[in-house]
């Protein structure tokens, strides 16, 4: 005769093995996530600590730098006050010493053609000084050619006279005062 069995429990019977496996899975997942969290936070903390220490030392360096800069600026102002005039005078002398009359004479020799003659020449050792001269040429086109060569040097023609045998002009130019 067949025997009939009834389950009278209020809820479904739980398979203990499957349930344990699910719990184990959840537990492992939680463990893994926690490990990632701990690793992340530890890494960030290490980084933070290193950066904070660098920033502290940088801040100290910056502070030292600012103090040094201030002190140096003050000393520079004092030194300038004491030595600037002497320095300016020394530079003025050096500038005048480096003014070359020879380079100006060489320039004039190159600019003059064979039929030309410099009758009078006046030179002054000043940066803004002009080179004044009186020149004569056998032909007018030689004089014009000479003018053309001098045009880049602020040429100023004072006068030009036509004589029986030659043409004469008074003019001035300005050449930069460095050695050539």
């Amino acid at each position: 005769m067949r025997r009939i069995r009834y389950n009278l429990a209020g809820a479904r019977k739980v398979d203990a093995r499957a349930f344990a496996l699910i719990l184990l899975g959840i537990g492992l997942a939680a463990l893994l996530l926690n490990a990632v969290t701990v690793f992340n936070l530890a890494r960030l903390q290490r980084q933070n600590r290193a950066e904070n220490s660098e920033i502290r030392s940088a801040a100290l360096r910056l502070e030292g730098l600012q103090q040094k800069t201030l002190r140096q600026q003050e000393e520079i102002v004092a030194l300038k006050k004491a030595w600037e005039r002497k320095l300016a005078f020394a530079n003025l002398l050096i500038g005048r010493k480096s003014f070359s009359f020879i380079s100006r004479l060489n320039f004039l020799e190159r600019a003059c053609s064979d039929g030309m003659r410099v009758r009078q020449l006046s030179l002054v050792n000043e940066p803004a000084g002009r080179m004044q001269m009186t020149v004569s040429a056998l032909a007018q086109n030689e004089l014009l050619g000479f003018y053309k060569k001098l045009l880049p040097y602020e040429l100023a023609i004072v006068n030009e006279n036509q004589m029986t045998e030659y043409y004469q002009a008074s003019l001035s130019i300005r050449i930069q005062d460095e050695k050539k």
Partner: protein, 172 residues
Amino acid sequence: MKKSKLALTAMLALLFLSVAGCLFSLVFGQWQDLSRQHRLQTFRDLEGREKAAQVLEAEYREWRNLPLVLQKFRRDNILSLDEFAAFRRDLDARLAANGLQPPRIDFAFGSAREGLRKVTAKFSLTGSYRSLKKFIFDMEAKSKMHFFSSLQLNAEADRVKGAFSLEVYLGQ
């Protein structure tokens, strides 16, 4: 059954907390990265300031050395009174070497400025253009602090007449 539900709920809560913690650590890391950018900017500022400080340091050193440099400049280039006598002998020698003979040389002693006294020598010379130019060249080649302040050349037949003004600086 109640116990198993409780255990499941507890484990799910733990999982939820773990997920939240993990997300927090990732978000916190990103936030820290942004903050790091800001701190790096501070470092860049520091580098800029250090470069500016180096420039200032170089300028400062130059100003500190200036008294020595000026002292050396004076020692090397400015004539003393004893050297002035030698300079006059040398001037005569240069003139003679180029076949030039000035009728007279006038020396005018000026007032002192910045510890230096200006002496102006004026003289006129007559000779060939070549010899006058050679004389100017010789005088310009000297390292001591003397130089022509002006010169005027006038052509006369085959000779040139030149009026020279020469400045010499003497140390006190």
